[in-house]
């Protein structure tokens, strides 16, 4: 292949001089028919010396074309084609075209290929979904589809895909599947049909009838023609996303296709080999398809797939087969997609760590593109518990990238990754590096860095003096980018933690000494000294008069809002330090305050002055008392970061998987579910005109463990902060409750089960004040459980307003016994950032239990009947909860079995019986639970007629005590 870059030089571009001879600048060879009139027109336009001249020339041409189209003389096809092309060219220059559509329709109805082609081009470039026109061309399209002429058919399919409107879907969605799977369709037609159908399906899935063709589509994965497979995979992927169960067979087909490609030699695939890489596009698409599903259940398929993934990782270490960048790009495209799949599975620690090592190599690659992608991909790896530690080993490289990368988008990725890999062990290092970076950071990303630093500092603060220092540093370095949320937050934290108040007062006092300090520093300083200035007043260097004159020296340079805040500080000083009263009253009384043009300042001055003059010391002390602790809310900084654009901005914090053992994850819950708004600690809250602060703090949220409360939830409300897995387990013995909750979203579940049927109501609550977009919860069934979603419209594919709740109803039918629960996949966009989570739906086999009462005699008889070793499952385990007989009883009943009294000779033991109802079969179950209070242990025995059911029930139930 020639080196394109060298060939792609501006050959004739150099000849172009304004006013040059028109003929000289036309391409020497015009390919195809060469519509000379068109070329002349294009040259004319290119020769125009000014925008005005160009417009004049265009208007002249438009008038000409209009008259030709309106003229009496019928135009021949060629002229029509030429004029329509001119209109297209004018349109591409950025001018509006409002005529010529009829002529284009005329052209595409022609039997001549070139006319047809131009007609279709005009329609696809100019028309989006003008339904009037679509109706006109529908007939022509129908004819072309039926023509059996493959070129005509492809043109028609292209046009349908290009317009892609609902009308198009209504007219053709039913025909295209037939063309796609017809035995006599040419390969090229099949390819176009697959992608055309994909487009229609994306636009209006309801219009595409599922049917017998779907099974045949899946088998296109086996097609001889690589082009057909390439086109079909995209369609199949899309179908899988919507109906994962119906297309499950594609997993093994995709794996075997992938395996054949991955193991083929670099020349096996002929024209589908791209720079010595076999079928890179197809490989990437297959890997994407597999990401619609959890890891294959079939061990052989899974083994083969893991082998493929390993081969790709191995190949990355081999020397390149070509020095061309195309070779390495294609190879690495497959590698990155492989890593995405490994991350998606998140279940193979070995592969995850290998992926991480590979990305680590790329972090130092000379290609900027690879460094960028490696940083991006590692961000996701950082949130997997298997690879978080491995990612952390690259901290120095990433810090170096932040310092030395020349491209801001790469530095941004490095900052994202540092944020994602941060935990208690490296927080100080990362925060200090980010602060250092902030000094020279690009303006475009400063605000985001500030937010991230503020969040990390708060989240991982061990001592709060470090936190206060960090925030003050933020203001010092990038004061302009420190938003209200950030400095409000530091005030809330200082107010709520009495062990840091003295330090904060001392530190702001020192910071205010700087001759030029940022206005945000004045705000923070003013507020903190107004509240806690007394804590440093003992030192003569920061005596009350010194504090006051320091603050007041900044007063005149500040904005109205800051001056208003400072006035409130002054009145607080009068209460804290009676010795400053006279001076401050003097300031308030000054004409510049009492008659200030700003009504807010004037009112404050008047009110504060009067208050200080008429109120007794006691009243003053009550009114100006220290602010009570702030009620706990979600950190408003975190909310702000989430609102900001950028995928992954907040995902690291939202991800509940990470570091599940520690208490510092954010997958938990905010204790106050209602709002995200932050109480403004600006002057109003100091409480002269306003009533007392909005909400009294909960007694438990004392100043002692503020951060824990803010971020962890469990400390404040133990029932609300389980990991998704814990939440899932709790549902084994109950049907209603909260399945998931983070700072954005709460998912509640109500369900009822009867025989082999169940109905589940899912409630999705948007906890933020911002609308979720494209909110789409879908159910994926990896197991044998067939779940039909009967009614989902209110929650599917829609928006969920801030604070609103939507409901989804699932009707469930248990066809046969199963081990894995179905998955609930929830995707939406929040403030521009895509959010995705996958949860296990709390549907376990015991939900289909029907309790059975029986006498002791019957019980023992059945117990004996089920005495084959594989029918019994037994577990001896330690009690995880206090051993309370009533609780145990409730759990067993919740589990679904009947409890049989007077069966077990030992009254401490529990005996239960029930039948699991599935459509295909019924499984009788007997259970016995023997608590041993001394040893704090239980022995649980399950006997059922089916081995897998015994084991599964035993496992589920054993985790409940």
């Amino acid at each position: 292949t020639p080196v394109i870059q060298a060939l792609w030089r501006p050959r004739r571009e150099d000849y172009l001089r304004p006013g040059a001879d028109t003929t000289a600048i036309m391409p020497a060879v015009s390919k195809g028919d060469g519509m000379r009139g068109l070329a002349v027109f294009i040259s004319d336009i290119r020769n125009c010396k000014s925008k005005e001249a160009e417009i004049k020339r265009i208007n002249k041409e438009l008038a000409n074309i209009r008259s030709k189209f309106k003229g009496d003389k019928a135009l021949d096809g060629y002229s029509k084609k030429k004029y329509v092309c001119k209109l297209l060219f004018i349109f591409l220059l950025g001018h509006d075209i409002d005529f010529g559509h009829m002529e284009a329709v005329n052209l595409l109805s022609s039997n001549k290929y070139t006319e047809k082609q131009i007609g279709y081009l005009f329609i696809s470039v100019l028309v989006n979904s003008n339904s009037e026109l679509i109706r006109l061309i529908n007939n022509a399209i129908k004819n072309d589809l039926a023509s059996r002429n493959p070129t005509f058919m492809c043109l028609a399919l292209h046009c349908i895909a290009n317009v892609g409107s609902r009308e198009m879907g209504e007219a053709f969605a039913a025909d295209i599947p037939r063309i796609l799977v017809a035995g006599d369709s040419m390969d090229s037609v099949k390819q176009s049909a697959a992608l055309c159908l994909l487009r229609l399906y994306k636009a209006s899935p309801d219009l595409v009838p599922m049917g017998e063709w779907t099974a045949r589509v899946v088998h296109l994965l086996n097609d001889q023609h690589m082009g057909v497979v390439t086109a079909a995979v995209s369609l199949i992927t899309c179908l899988c996303k919507k109906n994962p169960d119906d297309f499950k067979t594609c997993i093994s087909l995709a794996v075997s296709r992938l395996s054949r490609i991955v193991s083929s030699a670099s020349t096996d695939l002929q024209d589908y080999t791209y720079y010595f890489v076999p079928a890179p596009w197809l490989s990437v698409k297959l890997l994407r398809l597999l990401q619609c599903y959890p890891p294959p259940e079939d061990a052989a398929v899974k083994g083969r797939l893991v082998e493929c993934l390993e081969t790709v990782l191995n190949k990355a270490q081999e020397p390149p087969k070509s020095k061309k960048v195309q070779h390495s790009n294609a190879k690495n495209a497959i590698l990155f997609e492989t890593i995405s799949l490994i991350i998606h599975y998140d279940s193979e620690p070995n592969l995850l760590v290998r992926a991480c090592n590979q990305l680590g190599q790329f972090l130092q690659h000379r290609e900027t593109n690879l460094r960028y992608l490696a940083l991006e991909s590692m961000c996701t790896l950082a949130s997997s518990e298997f690879s978080h530690e491995a990612v952390k080993t690259h901290i120095d490289t990433v810090i170096n990238a932040l310092k030395t990368e020349r491209d801001v988008s790469v530095r941004q990725r490095a900052a994202d990754l540092l944020y994602a890999m941060c935990d208690r062990s490296n927080a100080k290092q990362i925060v200090s590096e980010m602060l250092r970076y902030l000094e020279t950071a690009d303006y475009a990303i400063r605000e985001e860095i500030v937010l991230k630093v503020a969040i990390l500092a708060e989240k991982y603060a061990v001592d709060y003096s470090w936190y206060v220092d960090t925030i003050l540093n933020l203001i010092r370095i990038a004061g302009d980018y420190v938003s209200e949320e950030v400095w409000y937050r530091v005030l809330q934290i200082v107010t709520n933690r009495d062990d840091v108040q003295g330090y904060a007062a001392k530190t702001v006092f020192e910071a205010l000494q700087a001759p030029a300090c940022h206005e945000n520093m004045v705000k923070v300083g003013g507020y903190i000294l107004g509240e806690f200035g007394n804590l440093i007043a003992g030192d003569p260097r920061s005596s009350p008069p010194v504090q006051f004159s320091l603050l007041h020296s900044k007063f005149h340079l500040c904005s109205v809002a800051t001056r208003a805040l400072l006035l409130s500080t002054y009145i607080k000083f009068i209460n804290l330090f009676p010795e400053t009263k006279a001076t401050i009253q003097g300031v308030l009384r000054a004409g510049s305050q009492l008659r200030n043009a700003d009504v807010e300042l004037q009112q404050r001055a008047v009110e504060y002055l009067t208050l200080s003059s008429v109120a007794s010391t006691d009243v003053l002390a009550t009114v100006l008392e220290e602010m009570p602790p702030f009620p706990e809310r979600e950190s408003s900084i975190l909310a702000k970061l989430k609102r900001k654009k950028g995928p992954g901005a907040a995902s690291a914090l939202d991800d509940g998987r990470r570091d599940p053992s520690s208490n510092d994850i954010n997958g938990g819950v905010e204790p106050t579910p209602s709002t995200v708004s932050t109480p403004s600690p600006s002057a109003d809250l100091l409480g002269l005109r306003a009533a007392p602060p909005p909400a009294a703090p909960p007694a438990s949220a004392g100043a002692g463990n503020l951060l824990v409360d803010v971020f962890d939830g469990p400390a404040a409300q133990p029932s609300l902060g389980p990991t998704p897995e814990e939440a899932f387990l709790r549902f084994v013995c109950k049907n209603n409750g909260v399945l998931f909750e983070n700072q954005l979203l709460q998912i509640g579940v109500k369900s009822e089960f009867r025989q082999n049927l169940g109905r589940m109501y899912l409630f999705y609550g948007n906890k933020t004040s911002v609308q979720f977009q494209n909110f789409s919860p879908t159910v994926v069934h990896p197991g044998d459980l067939q779940t039909h979603i009967l009614s989902a419209p209110p929650a599917l594919r829609s928006q969920v307003d801030g604070g609103a709740q939507v409901q989804q109803v699932l009707n469930i039918e248990c066809l046969r016994d199963f081990l894995t629960p179905p998955l609930l996949s929830v995707r939406f966009r929040y403030g521009g950032a895509p959010q995705a989570l996958t949860l296990k739906l709390p549907v376990t086999i015991n939900k289909f239990f029907q309790p059975t009462e029986m006498a002791a005699q019957d019980f023992f008889q059945r117990w004996k009947q089920l005495s084959l070793p594989q029918q019994e499952a037994q577990k001896i385990f330690k009690a995880n909860h206090p051993m309370d007989a009533e609780v145990t009883k409730a759990k067993l009943l919740g589990f679904g079995s009947a409890l049989l009294d007077n069966v077990d000779p030992n009254p401490e033991n529990f005996v239960g019986a029930g039948i699991i109802q599935t459509k295909a079969l019924q499984v009788g179950c007997l259970l016995r639970l023997e608590p041993n209070a001394q040893a704090q242990m239980y022995r649980l025995t399950l006997r059922t007629s089916k081995e897998s059911v015994s084991r599964h029930l035993c496992e589920l139930l054993a985790q409940q005590f």
């Binding site: 060939l7 001549k112 636009a203 024209d271 990437v284 997609e337 494209n774």
Partner: protein, 166 residues
């Protein structure tokens, strides 16, 4: 409208010159004229401001932009968040190869004067924002067949006829 839930695809492809002249635009998702113009203007500004050797990917609005410069011309694709950047970069390259093979040492002028051909080639290669066939041979064969049909359709005309004087 968004296609997020169905998986990814290219949103649009733009070809523009160093001077900021748009040479080709292909939209794969219905977008109003006004919005198109705004997006084109904004994106051209962003891309033209970037220095050589910078990364070929950037985040823009809620999309990912993959671009590459060939001589005087920028090729620029907007894809969705989860799409594979590197394969998109090679998709651009494959398109350039196709143009090059068809025009023979292609340059910007070929695309200006034969914009309709550039569209036809692109349409053979991509459909609805997705790769239809990656084989250079298949794509070019389709285009050449079309050219043959064209020649059968029409006999060459004289210059005078062309000017409407005959």
């Amino acid at each position: 409208m968004s296609w997020d839930e169905f998986g990814e695809c290219m949103r649009f492809m733009l070809l523009f010159s160093r001077q900021g002249k748009l040479r080709l635009q292909k939209w794969y998702l219905a977008t109003s004229d006004k919005e198109r113009k705004k997006m084109v203007r904004e994106l051209m500004q962003v891309v033209l401001a970037r220095k050589p050797k910078m990364c070929s990917f950037l985040e823009w609005r809620d999309l990912k932009v993959v671009y590459k410069r060939y001589a005087s011309l920028y090729f620029c694709c907007a894809i969705e968040g989860q799409d594979n950047e590197l394969i998109t970069l090679e998709l651009i390259h494959r398109y350039v190869e196709l143009l090059d093979k068809y025009f023979g040492s292609v340059c910007e002028l070929d695309i200006i004067f034969n914009f309709e051909k550039a569209y036809f080639i692109l349409d053979e290669f991509l459909m609805g924002g997705d790769v239809q066939d990656t084989s250079k041979k298949s794509v070019l064969k389709a285009i050449e067949q079309a050219d043959l049909l064209q020649e059968e359709d029409e006999s060459p005309r004289s210059v005078l006829e062309e000017m409407g004087l005959a």
